[in-house]
């Protein structure tokens, strides 16, 4: 015990009181929230300078974001509608991130998933909706899983950089989808905007009870919770974290690193494809060029802002969905170009990436500081 008081830093046997442990836990968790929030605040501050340079009012801009994204029931529904695909798209980034992979090709999986759902729909015409809709979803998920899973396989077995591969595969997926929509799958009656045949009314996914937002939001939140359970509470998720933390250590432990990589990338691709499935069956009613709406890329921003934590993706996707929903209002009221919101998102992304270097730099977040008792603190000060 004498040694313990002299070196509280090295104390391992005598643990601090529960109250102090709670404080330490809060301090550690606060860091994970405070630093991204700080990055977002800095991003808005820099964007304000950009607006002032254009002669526009930052306060007016924030007000419009609030009114366009969150201020009315209509605005809220609009934001949630946009948040739904972002949830799935962000999971396509966050799940491979557990293995230390940066996958940015979710856009391709979304588009491919949407086209796959639209393509299979006519074949399922005779089925009752309760079977037909899940069958469409499964078909979309398989297409996305194969696409992003292939990126994982290239990484695991051929050492191909997954970031570049997923981006290029995304371009191929979009080109392939356009080819199918304008050729094989085209509805001859869609003249100005090539589309696939409309999905039968019975197979359309409706709104959730009491809302105008479709079921994609509910399933998206569910997918985030399930992804969190998978990564944090199962041995598969833990194995993936070991492989992401140090692939050599995982190999020495005999973990199937290749299969983990393929499995997690395929799961991410399947989820992203579900976003396309919901866009087709709940929003557009058929697959067309509107599927390429950039949800896959905004999803990357969501995942990084959420620090790849599946639960944190939910509020972040809502926030980003709101910012995107207010784009039209901002364009009309402030006479700013459509790309203004993209500038804001780009700024936020750069700042979030920069903020990654700040973790562990601030003493106020150190659990150490908070587990020390008042009596021990002066001793420490002398000792150090």
């Amino acid at each position: 015990m004498v040694a313990d008081t002299a070196h509280p830093d090295l104390d391992s046997a005598g643990s601090p009181s529960p109250a102090l442990q709670v404080r330490a836990w809060i301090a550690r968790r606060t860091e994970a929230v405070a630093i991204p929030l700080g990055a977002v605040a800095t991003g808005f501050a820099l964007f304000s300078l950009f607006l002032i340079a254009l002669g526009k009012s930052p306060a007016g801009f924030l007000d419009l974001i609030y009114r366009g994204g969150f201020g009315s029931p209509f605005a809220l529904q609009n934001s949630l509608q946009r948040a739904a695909p972002l949830l799935f798209a962000a999971l396509c980034v966050a799940l491979p991130a557990r293995l230390g992979l940066v996958v940015i090709g979710g856009e391709g999986a979304i588009v491919l998933g949407g086209v796959a759902a639209a393509a299979i729909a006519p074949a399922l015409a005779g089925l009752p909706p309760v079977l037909g809709i899940p069958a469409m979803a499964l078909c979309a998920a398989l297409a996305g899983a194969a696409w992003i899973g292939a990126v994982g396989a290239l990484r695991a077995y051929r050492g191909v950089n997954e970031t570049i591969a997923s981006l290029l595969m995304s371009y191929i997926a979009i080109a392939l989808s356009n080819h199918l929509i304008e050729g094989l799958l085209r509805d001859p009656s869609s003249l100005n905007k090539p589309s696939t045949r409309a999905i039968a009314e019975a197979f359309r996914v409706g709104p959730m009870p009491g809302m105008k937002v479709h079921w994609g939001l509910g399933f998206g939140v569910l997918a985030c919770v399930a992804a969190w359970v998978l990564t944090e509470r199962t041995t598969l998720g833990f194995a993936a974290r070991i492989a992401g933390g140090n692939v050599r250590a995982a190999q020495i432990q005999g973990l199937p690193v290749g299969r983990l990589i393929v499995g997690f990338t395929a799961l991410g691709g399947a989820l992203a494809a579900l976003a396309g499935f919901f866009e087709v069956t709940a929003v557009h009613g058929n697959a067309n060029a509107s599927l390429v709406a950039g949800y896959g890329y905004t999803g990357i921003l969501v995942a990084f802002l959420a620090r790849q934590n599946p639960l944190a993706i939910v509020p972040v996707a809502f926030l980003l969905g709101g910012i995107e929903a207010s784009g039209g209002l901002i364009q009309r009221r402030m006479q700013l170009p459509d790309a203004t919101v993209l500038v804001l998102e780009g700024l936020l992304f750069v700042l979030v990436l920069m903020s990654e270097t700040l973790y562990g730099r601030y003493k106020v977040f150190s659990p150490h500081l908070w587990t020390r008792t008042r009596a021990a603190a002066p001793v420490m000060a002398v000792a150090s």
């Binding site: 090295l10 974290r241 933390g245 190999q251 005999g254």
Partner: protein
């Protein structure tokens, strides 16, 4: 000659010394003599180099022998200006000089060829030579450079095609180009750091033979770091031996026998034994059997061929060898990071493939070298790192399938128990493992791998870079595992560690097992001779 006082040497900027010394030596031609007087280099309280005085005559071909960590690299780095020596001085051409950086060494005619290639792979040989000069014009006139290069190559004994990209050259050609580069930079004293480790024996003989001829003509002085007696005897004219930072001896090649050199390298070495070593049960079963194993590392440069190696229960087999002779590749094959191209590894009665279920069923554990780099995830917590082996285990029966749900409560309790039992010093079980000291990281790995019964333990350089007390404790734990009946394969570059811990000692050289001896009959000098590539006592180079 009185050495410069340290403080004066440190404050004289070499640029101030530079012009007149270059002017005095111009035009540079012919071999340079280099001498060191009382060269000492301390890192903290540790003397990596202690009062080494060595004279290498102009036109000499001098070999520097010694074990890993004997101070050979430190010595040449002090000459080349990478390190500022703590004391002592360097004489170049009989004149004392202050060399404070590698450029200063280059301008005085000293050059060094490193163990690893320093050429730009995508550029041609000619481009590599020209850009290596210290003053390259902003716009290079390639036509006139080519004329100058052709004239230069005409004076060189080495035949090289300078128009091919370096990436397309064989290892021997790259090595020649490295040497030619130094000569092109007007090196008249050339240091070679284990020049033949990347070459085939035929390439090595050609390169060293050409250099020896240049030295005999008086064009060049060569100082070669080597581990191989055969090369030293075939090409060097004189030799110095370092041991633990001190000059252990030396002389003219031909007057020294291989036994003399081995004795200088190894010194008198009392074999310390760890207390508590129990006697081996007489007819122990073989736990690990390696037969006709063939494999190669990713670069394909270091093939290994292990014909027959067995480790029995209750026995520590130590694999000794100079770094880079296939021990790492052997460990990687066993650990599943390299796939064998032939032969078999049998653990118990099964062909071993390194899968998790199999290593769990057979109770195989690995403790790789550099634990933070190879056995831990640095940003994960101590508790998580402690759970790597058993997080998915269902009960004690290895045949049952792994669990699906992660029991974080059990992980945390187990972590606290192991931290207390293995005396790991950490702020908490939730601290990232990268915040721990090297000895404590190794304690975490030992706690993880040695808590349940072990049948086969593969350990590589377990004490590298650790302090004295951690070393004693970690070695005691390895011996305790052996006493409990584990078969232990200990791969170490530290011969003292091998001698202290092993029941049987095996020497690897050039990817093969070249010598095996029971520890009780082991003679450090015989082992040292085999490590240096001299296997048959009667054979002569």
């Amino acid at each position: 000659m009185v050495p410069f006082p340290q403080s004066v040497r440190e404050v004289v900027p070499w640029s101030a010394v530079e012009p007149q010394s270059v002017a005095a030596e111009a035009p540079p031609a012919g071999a340079l003599a280099v001498e060191t007087i009382g060269m000492t280099k301390r890192f903290g309280s540790f003397a990596a180099l202690d009062d080494v005085s060595m004279k290498i005559e102009a036109g000499g071909f001098h070999a520097l022998l010694g074990e890993n960590g004997a101070g050979k690299s430190t010595f040449v780095k002090c000459i080349m200006g990478f390190y500022a020596p703590s004391a002592g001085s360097v004489l170049v051409g009989g004149r004392e000089v202050a060399i404070t950086n590698p450029k200063g060494a280059q301008s005085r005619g000293l050059g060094m060829v490193y163990q690893h290639f320093t050429l730009v792979p995508s550029l041609t040989g000619a481009e590599n030579l020209v850009i290596a000069r210290s003053h390259v014009p902003a716009v290079i006139d390639w036509a006139s450079e080519r004329v100058a290069l052709d004239a230069f190559m005409g004076r060189m004994p080495f035949r090289l095609n300078l128009d091919r990209p370096v990436a397309e050259l064989a290892a021997g050609e790259k090595q020649k180009l490295e040497i030619v580069k130094q000569l092109y930079l007007k090196a008249r004293f050339l240091i070679l750091d284990e020049p033949t480790s990347v070459l085939t024996p035929a390439e090595a003989a050609e390169v060293l033979g050409l250099l020896r001829a240049m030295a005999d003509r008086g064009d060049l002085t060569v100082l070669m770091i080597s581990h191989k007696f055969r090369e030293v005897e075939a090409f060097a004219r004189s030799v110095s031996v370092l041991r633990r930072g001190r000059l252990a001896g030396g002389g003219r090649v031909g007057e020294l026998s291989r036994d003399d050199m081995a004795a200088m390298m190894m010194g008198a070495r009392p074999v310390r034994t760890v207390a508590g070593r129990s006697a081996m049960p007489a007819p122990a079963r073989a736990v690990l059997r390696i037969a006709d194993l063939k494999a190669t590392d990713a670069s394909g440069l270091r093939p290994i061929a292990v014909n027959d190696l067995a480790v029995h229960a209750g026995e520590i087999v130590g694999i000794a060898g100079v770094s880079g002779n296939g021990q790492k590749e052997l460990a990687d094959v066993l650990g599943g990071q390299i796939r064998a191209t032939g032969g078999s590894v049998i653990v118990g009665d099964q062909i071993y493939g390194g899968r998790r279920a199999q290593s769990r069923a057979l109770k195989v554990r690995f403790i790789p070298e550099e634990p933070l780099r190879n056995a831990c995830a640095p940003r994960m917590s101590v508790a998580e790192n402690l759970a790597f082996r058993a997080f998915d285990r269902r009960g004690d029966d290895p045949a049952r399938p792994p669990t699906f749900w992660l029991d974080t409560g059990a992980m945390s309790r187990r972590a606290k128990d192991l931290i207390a039992r293995f005396k790991v010093k950490t702020a908490s079980s939730e601290a990232p493992i990268a915040t721990l000291s090297g000895g404590n990281v190794q304690r975490v790995v030992l706690a993880r791998e040695l808590t349940d019964p072990v049948d086969l333990l593969v350990v590589a350089n377990p004490c590298f870079g650790l302090d004295f007390s951690a070393v004693a404790e970690i070695r005691a734990r390895i011996v305790a595992a052996r006493n409990a009946g584990a078969a232990v394969l200990l791969i170490s570059e530290d011969l003292d560690e091998i001698l202290e811990l092993s029941d049987r000692i095996v020497v690897m050289s050039d990817g093969r097992i070249v010598y095996a001896v029971p520890a009780a009959e082991a003679d450090a000098q015989v082992i040292g001779r085999h490590m240096a590539g001299h296997h048959a006592p009667s054979a002569t180079a």
